[in-house]
């Protein structure tokens, strides 16, 4: 029996998405499974965006909060810090302060923060709501307008609020994140509903819901793999938008990123452990199919960039 490389011929392709205006970035576009450049085309690296938020990160654990000491009191300073000092390729601004159970900031305040951040940076902006279905449908509609023609990503819309947010993203030329809760069939359904409103599927990003290493990551991992297989092998065009891994948000609330070594000696150094937790979670999302990743810790980001370098060689 002679060896011959078992290359797979895929019939589908992931949509290519470009965001931003001054210093745009592009991701997606591959016609093979993640990083399978040995049997097809992988035209772009996945993009890692740094996460910032509209209110000071008091709810972030010390290990990652301290990185941004002195800049995180003001979203504009924070954004500039990421762009200039950390060389971020993209930013994700989470408007968590608009959540009714948090600072309950008004739509006007959200609009103002978005405008200020946009005028302070050149890199592309991803604008995220607070995941409160009702509030997001007001906030995201308003900020979509405030960011008009800046080619941002707006998200995350869900089954309960997709109609108003889709209309706003369509009117102001943005890309959209559609999120469902770890269910591949509901994810497809939401993408169908959004495109049935006339929103082009080529401008969508699918978020199948992330999870942290040790806390259900295998569900996200398998849903992502299955979405990719449907996109590439069954040529299911509704499943061909790029995938989002919203990593930092899920990782920096688990015990492994917070418990000290004194408390749990077997777990080893908190400094390295917490960074590894974010980096390994992100790597798993990438290997499963994510093209856009949102992260918090610069050391985790640079390790993941190194991992991507090796995979793209």
């Amino acid at each position: 029996m002679a060896y011959s490389a078992p290359k797979e011929a895929y019939s589908g392709r992931v949509f290519e998405i470009t965001i931003g205006t001054d210093r745009p970035v592009t991701f997606g576009g591959e016609n093979v499974l993640p990083f399978h450049s040995f049997e097809g085309i992988v035209p772009h690296r996945p993009v890692i965006a740094y996460e910032i938020q509209d209110v000071p990160p008091d709810d972030w654990p010390e290990r990652v909060r301290s990185v941004y000491d002195g800049v995180s009191n003001d979203p504009v300073t924070w954004a500039r810090f990421c762009e200039e000092k950390l060389n971020a390729k993209a930013l994700a601004l989470r408007l968590v302060g608009t959540h009714p159970d948090r600072e309950n900031r008004s739509v006007e305040e959200a609009r103002k923060v978005v405008s200020e951040v946009l005028s302070a940076i050149k890199i592309p902006l991803i604008i995220l709501g607070s995941n409160h279905v009702e509030k997001d449908s007001e906030v995201l509609v308003a900020v979509a307008e405030a960011a008009k023609d800046k080619n941002c990503i707006i998200g995350k819309e869900q089954e309960g609020n997709y109609k108003t947010i889709t209309a706003a993203a369509m009117a102001h030329n943005h890309k959209l994140i559609a999120m469902s809760e770890l269910d591949i069939n509901l994810s497809k359904q939401l993408n169908i509903l959004i495109t049935q409103m006339g929103f082009p599927k080529e401008r969508l990003i699918t978020d199948p819901m992330s999870s942290a290493l040790g806390y259900g990551i295998e569900y996200t991992y398998s849903v992502m793999e299955r979405i990719r297989l449907a996109a590439l092998i069954q040529n299911d065009t509704v499943m061909q938008p790029p995938l989002l891994g919203d990593v930092g948000f899920y990782v920096w609330k688990v015990k492994e990123t917070q418990a000290s070594e004194e408390e749990l000696p077997l777990w080893g150094s908190l400094k390295e452990r917490s960074i590894a937790w974010e980096a390994l979670t992100a790597s798993a999302m990438l290997v499963a199919g994510a093209e856009l990743i949102i992260m918090r810790h610069p050391e985790a980001v640079s390790a993941v960039e190194g991992f991507i370098d090796e995979l793209m060689k």
Binding site: N185, K188, Q189, I192, V238
Partner: protein, 285 residues
């Protein structure tokens, strides 16, 4: 083909209330509707029935058999309730069916009951903890249940193997695995083993208007694989059999007069076969 009427289930609110109040009216009305639509047996699903299961099952069996000349399928995990039902069952209309035993040791005593009362039983091919991954695992469990049935002295003709239909909206790949399992079960004995499914679970979680469509065409595909019995809505199953010639024609690649229906059939079969990913709006794509 034996259709076991599924509608007397504690999950249905009207039925549950009638059971609680011991109100014969709704029970007998639903039993009669199913009988007239072609049911050959009536399923009485009383849930886990921890408390008062015995008297409830007794009451259900007699209430149903007062109204229709059919045997009853005794559907509960409560062993004592099953026995109470068997004791009052009128075998004049056919032997009762126990729903069910499985490979979970908690369910073994059901086999003993089946042998003791000379009745039929459903063997659900699941074990303790976890669902079978594919047709082969279902067949392996079926072989265990068959061996145990022989040990208990229950003739294999009295055992119906049930591959466990899962929801297509969350476990799409199992739709095809169940069809494969039915084919395997048939080959596992000579004469072939009898097979049964709880059909409507396939469309559980789907939009209401899709449910009869998926139920009917899935039923026809299972029929093709050799299915002997289905716990289902008899009215839907009668409609399915009426549509069978049309369905067969579409699958054979023939043109039919109703192109809209042909499209629905093709898309539904693609979903069942796993050729396209299920979404609630799959008919609109």
């Amino acid at each position: 083909m034996l259709i076991i009427g599924e509608r007397l289930s504690i999950i249905a609110r009207r039925v549950r209330e009638a059971m609680l109040k011991r109100d014969k009216g709704p029970i007998q009305e639903i039993a009669t509707i199913q009988w007239k639509a072609g049911a050959g047996m009536i399923d009485a699903n009383i849930g886990p029935a921890e408390d008062g299961g015995e008297s409830l099952m007794e009451w259900m069996v007699t209430t149903i058999q007062e109204a229709v000349p059919l045997p009853v399928c005794l559907d509960t995990t409560n062993y004592k309730a099953v026995e109470a039902g068997l004791k009052v069952h009128n075998n004049e209309w056919g032997r009762p069916l126990i729903n069910s035993t499985s490979n979970d040791p908690e369910r073994f005593p059901m086999l003993e009951l089946a042998a003791k009362y000379n009745c039929q039983i459903i063997g659900l091919t699941v074990g303790k903890g976890g669902l079978p991954a594919d047709a082969e695992e279902r067949a392996a469990i079926a072989a265990e249940i068959m061996a145990r049935a022989m040990e208990y002295g229950l003739p294999l003709e009295d055992l119906y193997l049930d591959p466990l239909v899962l929801q297509i909206s969350t476990s799409q790949d199992h739709a095809l695995k169940v069809i494969e399992a039915i084919k395997m079960f048939k080959e596992m004995n000579d004469p072939p083993m009898k097979t049964v499914v709880g059909l409507s679970n396939i469309s559980n979680g789907c939009p209401k208007e899709l449910r009869p469509i998926i139920n009917k065409y899935y039923f026809l595909m299972l029929l093709e694989a050799g299915l002997d019995a289905a716990i289902a809505d008899p009215k839907e199953m009668a409609e399915a059999l009426e549509e069978k010639p049309l369905f067969d024609a579409v699958l054979a690649g023939k043109e039919i007069d109703d192109p809209e229906k042909a499209k629905i059939i093709k898309k539904t079969v693609d979903i069942i076969m796993g050729r396209t990913l299920y979404a609630h709006s799959y008919l609109e794509m």
